[in-house]
């Protein structure tokens, strides 16, 4: 069971035993009004409170067995907004706000964290959280380079933490159904998988290493530039770096269009091919794309993307298509029968699945290894594009086959004090 729970329960009992209840205590705080008692709640912190973090956090707040106790962000505007949202939700001023995630993680009363920073921080924040004994819900993509993803998996495994990657389409019914068609042989022998990359128009400069002219660095209390950069190489401040549209295309901070959507679409393809613990053995550089070849003969096409995000699985006896707008097509149509699916890609089920796993210690829907293997397939495709050649991959050892030059791109030195070891 959850190791910190005992501590918190004991702590609550001790505190309640010696301190008389204040004059005004919300009924929810005492376990009434449909909420579990405080000792039965999962105490959480949110790290990274930009637009995605706020969206995720609202989903967590909607669960009565969650107590969001703290938030953290390197930007003051995000901190204020997130604290205000939590305080408003609970009708108090109790939510603590931090600029440095290490202070939040040092709190022994926090059981689990939501990590929704920029991609550059996902791995480091998760490893620090695992070392601090927290369970983790981390937004996708979980790493920028392959070695980071492996280090994350190792840390989560070492400490027996529950880790859920924010690849919520695993708990969206139409995608899960499409995957099950492939996995249960309803499409015959699986032949081809199509994983969309994010739309190219979102990345007008491709996956780049641009630098920007220096501008005056804001005070740390406003924006902690050093913390924003985290493990990435230093450069002088420019506000454009902090804009999502810029950093998600920059090699130092993200994997560009391949990991932006590929962490979802390749993830579903890997799942469909029962490849959560492995990956393609060859990455073929083709016209405008990369094709992954699995040892079982299945091919994974990284397709140029356009809205709505979709995946397609093709077998010898049928195929299935599912997208974010709720469209599902199957051949033969009898596979679909009279099934109806909803629209969108909500994360409520995914969040609930994580919370249940925190309590039961069961494996969640999107565990670290599967998310890493899907994301690393995208990262290797990126290396193909960067080196402009096809590559052979050894999924067991996570190295290229007889290609030490390509191996160099699997890791990167972290800026101190941050480290993967």
């Amino acid at each position: 069971m959850h190791t910190n729970w005992v501590t918190r329960r004991t702590f609550c009992q001790q505190v309640l035993g010696v301190i008389a209840a204040p004059a005004i205590v919300p009924a929810t705080a005492l376990g009434m009004g449909g909420r579990p008692a405080p000792s039965e709640r999962i105490v959480m912190g949110t790290i990274g409170c930009g637009s995605r973090g706020m969206d995720d956090m609202q989903n967590f707040l909607g669960n009565p067995d969650v107590q969001m106790a703290a938030i953290c962000d390197v930007q003051a505007t995000n901190r204020k907004r997130a604290k205000a949202a939590v305080d408003k939700y609970y009708g108090n001023q109790d939510c603590a706000a931090y600029r440095d995630l290490r202070e939040l993680l040092a709190r022994t009363d926090i059981d689990a964290v939501l990590i929704a920073t920029g991609d550059n921080w996902h791995t480091m924040a998760t490893i620090l959280a695992a070392k601090a004994g927290k369970d983790i819900y981390c937004e996708k993509p979980m790493s920028v380079v392959v070695a980071e993803g492996r280090a994350l998996c190792t840390a989560v495994e070492r400490y027996g933490r529950i880790f859920q990657c924010g690849t919520q389409r695993r708990t969206v019914d139409r995608f899960a159904w499409a995957v099950q068609l492939a996995r249960t042989g309803k499409l015959g022998q699986l032949k081809t998988l199509y994983a969309e990359m994010a739309p190219a128009e979102w990345f007008p400069h491709g996956h780049h290493e641009m630098t920007l002219p220096p501008e005056p660095e804001p005070p740390k209390d406003v924006l902690d530039w050093d913390m924003w950069l985290g493990p990435a190489p230093w450069r002088p401040f420019n506000p454009k770096y902090v804009q999502r549209g810029f950093w998600m295309a920059h090699r130092d901070f993200a994997g560009g269009m391949l990991t932006e959507w590929g962490s979802h679409t390749a993830d579903l393809c890997q799942w469909a091919n029962d490849a959560d613990g492995t990956g393609p053995v060859e990455f073929e550089l083709a016209e405008g794309t990369v094709i992954g070849h699995y040892a079982n003969g299945v091919r994974l096409f990284f397709e140029p993307g356009k809205w709505p995000l979709h995946v397609r699985f093709v077998g010898t006896e049928g195929q299935v298509y599912a997208d974010d707008d709720g469209n599902v097509e199957a051949k033969p149509q009898s596979l679909l029968a009279d099934r109806r699916f909803g629209k969108g890609y909500p994360q409520a089920n995914h969040v609930r699945n994580f919370l249940d796993c925190v309590k039961t210690r069961q494996k969640p829907a999107a565990p670290a290894e599967g998310a890493h293997r899907a994301n690393s397939a995208c990262q290797i495709a990126n290396i193909c594009l960067q080196l402009r050649r096809s590559l052979r991959w050894d999924p067991a050892n996570e190295r290229f086959v007889n290609d030490p030059e390509a191996d160099r791109l699997l890791s990167r030195a972290y800026r101190p004090p941050w480290s993967l070891i």
């Binding site: 290493e209 630098t211 002088p236 494996k363 030490p404 004090p417 070891i421």
Partner: protein, 273 residues
């Protein structure tokens, strides 16, 4: 007739070869010219300069795959540029390129940056990826010459490279007054994962100040995994047993998991997966 046909074919073939040679030659010359211009642009390159002026260098590096001579030539040109009076942004760029194609030949030039607070990280960025022993030796030699965060970075790189020759130096740093240095030394000893580093970490675990207890425990856990992977099961088990007494519950849990894994068993909750 046949001999005439042969002569015509021969002439056509020769002409084709000559034309091909001319085309390839002129293309190569154009590429060389672009590359020369890019190296010239590197002299004035700075933060915010249009990155595309350096693209021919990116392209030449990609094209140098399996061309040892071209790679060596590029490496030497980059080293020469690194030694010149160029900006931090230019040195950042050069270190990135050397991280892709650098060899022992570039190590002395890159190593000079290791003690520079502004450039140390990018020097490590290159050296961590250069497989030659000279790169690790440069990191080892820089260790006593550095302080503060720069030292932390060098320690981290020695851990990443799992440099067993650094164990004694890292062991001494466990007692450093700077907690970040001591924690980094512990982590690197754990990553190196030799019997000697396990001994150092066992001692450290027993006397680590409170603020370093988690770092010490984590280093021991990593060390135990590395020892087990190398077949040193007894030493790994000794570390796990030490940590099983920890008052930090998740450390205790991790040690128990380690012991079970070492014994070839899984936790009950694991079996549900």
């Amino acid at each position: 007739m046949l001999s005439i046909a042969k002569k015509v074919t021969g002439l056509l073939l020769s002409s084709f070869v000559i034309n091909l040679w001319l085309v390839v030659g002129s293309t190569a010359a154009a590429a060389d010219e672009k590359l020369d211009k890019a190296f010239e642009a590197l002299k004035t390159y700075d933060w915010g300069t249009d990155r595309s002026v350096l693209k021919p260098i990116d392209e030449a590096i990609v094209a140098s795959h399996k061309d040892t001579a071209a790679k060596k030539s590029l490496e030497m040109r980059l080293v020469a540029a690194l030694k010149g009076n160029v900006s931090q942004a230019a040195k950042d760029f050069i270190c990135r390129q050397l991280s892709l194609i650098g060899s022992a030949g570039c190590v002395p030039a890159v190593a000079e940056l290791l003690t520079d607070e502004k450039l140390s990280h990018m020097a490590r960025y290159a050296l961590e990826r250069i497989p030659d022993e000279e790169a690790v030796a440069a990191l080892r030699e820089a260790l006593p010459k550095t302080t503060g965060k720069v030292k932390v970075g060098v320690i981290n790189s020695l851990g990443v490279r799992r440099d067993a020759k650094s164990v004694e130096a890292l062991k001494a740093l466990l007692a450093d007054q700077d907690a970040e240095i001591a924690a980094a030394a512990a982590a690197s000893l754990g990553a190196i994962g030799t019997v000697e580093s396990a001994k150092a970490l066992t001692e450290f675990q027993a006397k680590a100040p409170e603020k370093l207890q988690l770092a010490a425990a984590d280093a021991c856990l990593v060390c135990a995994e590395r020892l087990a992977a190398a077949g040193n099961k007894a030493e790994a088990m000794a570390l796990y047993k030490l940590l099983a007494k920890s008052e930090i519950k998740h450390v205790k849990l991790a040690a128990t998991r380690g012991m079970l894994a070492l014994a070839g068993k899984k936790e009950k909750s694991e079996e549900k997966k």
